[in-house]
Structures are given as structure tokens and as C-alpha cells.
Subunit: 225 residues, 2 copies
Amino acid sequence: MKNLLSSIKISVPEKIFLKDPESSDLGKRIIEHSILLIDEIGFDNFTFKKLGTKIGSNESSIYRYFESKHKLLLYLTSWYWAWIEYQLVFSTSNIPNPEERLLKAIEIVTQTIKEDYDFSHVNEVKLNQIIINEYSKSYLTKEVDSENKEGYFEVYKRLITRLRDMILNINPEYKFASSISSTIVEGALHQHFLKDHFKSITDCSEKVTPTKFFQDLTINAIKPK
Amino acid sequence: MKNLLSSIKISVPEKIFLKDPESSDLGKRIIEHSILLIDEIGFDNFTFKKLGTKIGSNESSIYRYFESKHKLLLYLTSWYWAWIEYQLVFSTSNIPNPEERLLKAIEIVTQTIKEDYDFSHVNEVKLNQIIINEYSKSYLTKEVDSENKEGYFEVYKRLITRLRDMILNINPEYKFASSISSTIVEGALHQHFLKDHFKSITDCSEKVTPTKFFQDLTINAIKPK
DNA sequence: CAAAGGTGATAGTATTACTATTAAATTCGC
DNA sequence: GCGAATTTAATAGTAATACTATCACCTTTG
């Protein structure tokens, strides 16, 4: 898996960046260190000036790649979901049993990333933490609708659509296939957050994973009555 | 209901404010118009200066009530959840059947507020919209843990605990009572957001409510096998 | 070898999220 | 009803943010 992943290129909607960060050394350093810095100080406290200092480069140079820190967040989140989508497609394609396939898919979208896949300059463990802590901020804005039209959330929506199709494949009569899919993906991030900060309102922990919870929930919900 | 609600006082953790906004005319205007303004321009674009202009008062006067706009958001969200909790307790107390009671509780926490209850100076319809669009921002910060210790999220956690207890009352063996409760509350906000901005990944609409989805989901999940 | 593109350095702007100080208005205790 | 205390308003000021603009240098490429 590791080797295969290192050789493919994750593709992110082009309009998100001004200049493709994959196209230069500076661009890759921006991605690499923005992940480390956002994980460290949080997106709210993150600035291009601080990032410039970290990578020994200039604020103005970073603006040549991303027109704002918000666009950089959109880039990182799109990259993450594209990476998850790749894993999902790859690891479910050879499972013939629809229920088994769905369980695997739920595992992929709800698990904590524990291992750094060393996908070039991206630290996936820390990126996963950023998604848990900051993903909502990428769409909870007054500009969602226009940014959605620009296609900035395509990857995320496509991932949820794939999950939905696997559910409908098991039970085409289930009325809430889209809603349960979006609930699984968003809800898993939330449960991960709760187990780190609000333990009293989750059953999830190191032993009981969000994966188990959502697998159980989904199987019971979609079974024909 | 309306009359009853107008006569009780919703109580918010004291440490959230510097001076109780309920204690003065200016305080009430701050609450009233902050709801209108945040709903209008979004929390990110909201400033005390703009609010001051709206209410014909001064920025510095608002700082006497709240030490930051973040604290004001915590106040509004605590107020909202306390109000929901009150409705929950009130409207389930006389339902003897545990399953019926749970279904009612899910209805309360997942419904859209469509009617302005005219609870003094609070516009509940717009406050509900603010919760949908901004609630996550109140806890997705680097300061969650210390603010949690201060008790700023008590009301929210208590509400989820109440839901959990109703579920355990039906099936004490169900392993994920806390997780499903937090998923219902958070997930309902998310589904409301999706139906307004990302229609393709939800089944919810004007006709199919998040309430129906979560009632169906929960009943199937918690039934003893 | 010259032109083009990429990067770095510096400066500047409007706005934000506050703090501090003082003055004016209002309310309260007696 | 008056003086004291509290509340509010007005002004000014600060450090940081989220950029934009300009220019110089350095490298790559045709």
C-alpha cells in the first residue's frame, strides 16, 4: 500500500490554488510545513507570516501559491479526502460481498490515521488531526455557496456519494442513504474530537473505535425490515 | 408553551460573561442585536464595533459585558441549549412510554425552529440558524480543554446525557448510548446545513426532516437483537 | 545571452480585537 | 433631593492580521 500510494498523484481541484504547490520545491515546503504548523498552533492562530518564518521564506512568496489561508485549508482538506477516496476505492474493489465491502468502506472513512504513510511531503497523521479539528471551518462560512459552485468541495461530495452507492447496493429501498453517509463521515470526525476533549458524551476511546460504532449503526439502520 | 417559556429565566454559566446581559437594558440590546447581526453577516465578519453601531452604543461598552466575541458566542450557544433542554424536559415529562418519550426527545433536539417564541429579546429562529452555522466554532479551538474545565459546555453535555439516559432506559445493554446521542444532536445540525448548502449529500429537505431520519436511525440501532 | 519567471525583501493599508482613560449620564442610598 | 457610586459613551491607542504593491535579484530556458 505504502509503495503504491507514493507513486500516484493526489489531484485537487485546480481553482483552489494560484500556482500548483506540487510544481516546485517551495510549494512542497509550504504544504509540508503548513500541516505541521496548523497542527501545532491551530488554524485560527496560523498565519502566512509565521509559516514564512518556519520555512525560511517570505510571506509574499506564499501568497503566490494561495490567495488566502482559507484557500490553503481548502487545498489540504481536498487533498485529504482525495487520499481517503483513493484508499476506499483501492481496498474495496476486490471485495465481492456487498456488506463486507460496506464495512470496509466505513472502516476507511472513520479510522484514525496512526501511521505516517510518508506520501512525499505530507504527514498524514497530522493532516488527519487537522481534518478533525478544522474541517468544519472550511465550509461554515458565508461564502459556501459560491465556493461550492466553484467545485471546491467536489472530492468530499464524491466520497460520500460512493458510500451512499454501496449502501443502496445492499438495500435500494433504504430512504436515507445519503444522509447516513454524510453522518458517518462527519460523525466520525466528531466522535474522534469528543474522545479527545469531551469524554463524557462519547463511548469511543482507544478500545472502542468510532469505526465499530458506525459499522453497528449502519448495518442496523439499512437492513430491510 | 409560549407563555410558560416567557416567564422562566434561561440560566447560562456565570463565568461566561463579565456582567449579566439580562441585568440591564443595554445588555438585552447586546443579546438581541448580536443574534440579528451574526445571522446576517456571519460570526467571522461580526465585530463589537459593528454591533455598537447597530445598537447606537459604543464598542467599549460591549466589552464590559463580554471579554471577547468568542465569549459572546459561548453565551448564545449556552442559552440556546438551555432553552432546548427546557423544552425537552417539559415536553417529555408526561410521556410514560419510554420509546414514545425518546422519539419526542429526538424531535425536540433535531427540529428546525420555525416559530419565533418571542422569549423576550431573543429571536429563536435566527438563533437556531446561528447554532447550525457557527456552533462548531465555539469548541473547535486550541482553548477547548481549559474552557471545558471552566464549565462553558456544561449545558450541552447535560442535554446529551439526558438523551443518553432515555436510550439506556429502553435498552440498558446498548453499547453506544452516549455516542449515538452526541451523533443525533451534532448530526441534526449538520443535516440542516447540508439541506441548505449541499443538497446532493443529504436526503433531508422540506418534506423529509432530519427528525425522521434520526428517529428511524436510533430506533433501529438500539433495539435489542 | 537576453528574456521570462520565480523568489525575497521591504513597505504600506485597512481592519481587527482589544486596552486605557476620561467624561458624561444615570441610578441608588440615605 | 443630593452626593456617591455605578454605568455608559467617546476617544485614543496598540499590536497583530490579512493582505497588496513594488522592486531587485537570481535562476532557468529558448
